[in-house]
Symmetry: C2
Subunit: 161 residues, 2 copies
């Protein structure tokens, strides 16, 4: 295995680990517990689940894989704060969408070559990418890993000790 | 720049970004606010700061760089839960140690070659490393990045909205 392939495998492995870790947190929480705020006046568990699902869904087009599967989630879970609407999808349907999106992403991740990972993502123009070559797809993947870890730290606060 | 070097630069860049993001959270909080729990009956801000400092400090020997600078922190902030002792270091001294440790780490990170990053860390034997080559130094770095993001998500809950 070439160095660059070990690098890539290590990062994708960490993505899988963070998904697994988040899902383990999720499994410890009932649908009712997910309606609680992670800290007084902050986001509820269900909002974090929807937020991450919407974010990961939009990563499909951002990395040039395919169109978003559930673009309607972005309105509720990215462009609006929690509690802006009473009309949320159910926890069960969000969980299903969450799993579907992550499976899709992993399939695409595994199909990209090292060179593909170092090409630009779709939010940056060809001209800008010449000046800022770090704004590649790999960077998006690492950002998604840390974004997931960030909110997992919050969701974990709902787990009873 | 070779692919493997772009990979490495992207990861170290993300490490720096997460440190900067955590420090931005820290700057929004007074010493008094850091004595608050991030959620009822959970860790206080000061404990998270000490925990991360102790963890990053132990990363110095784990990656074979040098001995821990403040090994006494591990007893309080890793091996004991929050509120086990009233005798905590001050926020000011923890902040100083936090910055010192992170500067040291970055210096060492920047001095390692790509090949060095793919060698084993000191918690795994030569025999085991043959079977589990992903347990390399790079993997430790990525784990530290996600660990930091995880607790930053929690610390951020102390920031007044």
């Amino acid at each position: 295995m070439k160095n660059e392939e070990i690098f890539l495998a290590t990062i994708i492995r960490n993505w899988q680990f963070q998904i697994k870790y988040f899902n383990a947190t999720l499994e410890k929480l009932s649908d009712e517990q997910l309606l609680n705020e992670v800290s007084p006046n902050r986001n509820r568990g269900i909002y974090l689940l929807g937020h991450l699902t919407a974010y990961h869904d939009l990563t499909l087009p951002l990395l040039g894989f395919e169109g978003a599967l559930y673009p309607e989630l972005a309105t509720i879970f990215i462009h609006s704060p929690d509690k802006a609407t009473d009309n949320l999808p159910s926890v069960q349907s969000l969980k299903q969408q969450w799993n579907t999106v992550n499976e899709k992403l992993l399939q695409h991740f595994n199909s990209l070559s090292v060179d593909d990972w170092l090409t630009r993502h779709s939010n940056i123009s060809e001209e800008d990418f010449v000046k800022e070559p770090h704004r590649n797809r790999l960077n998006v993947l690492i950002s998604r890993i840390t974004h997931l870890a960030y909110h997992n730290g919050q969701l974990n606060l709902l787990v009873k000790k």
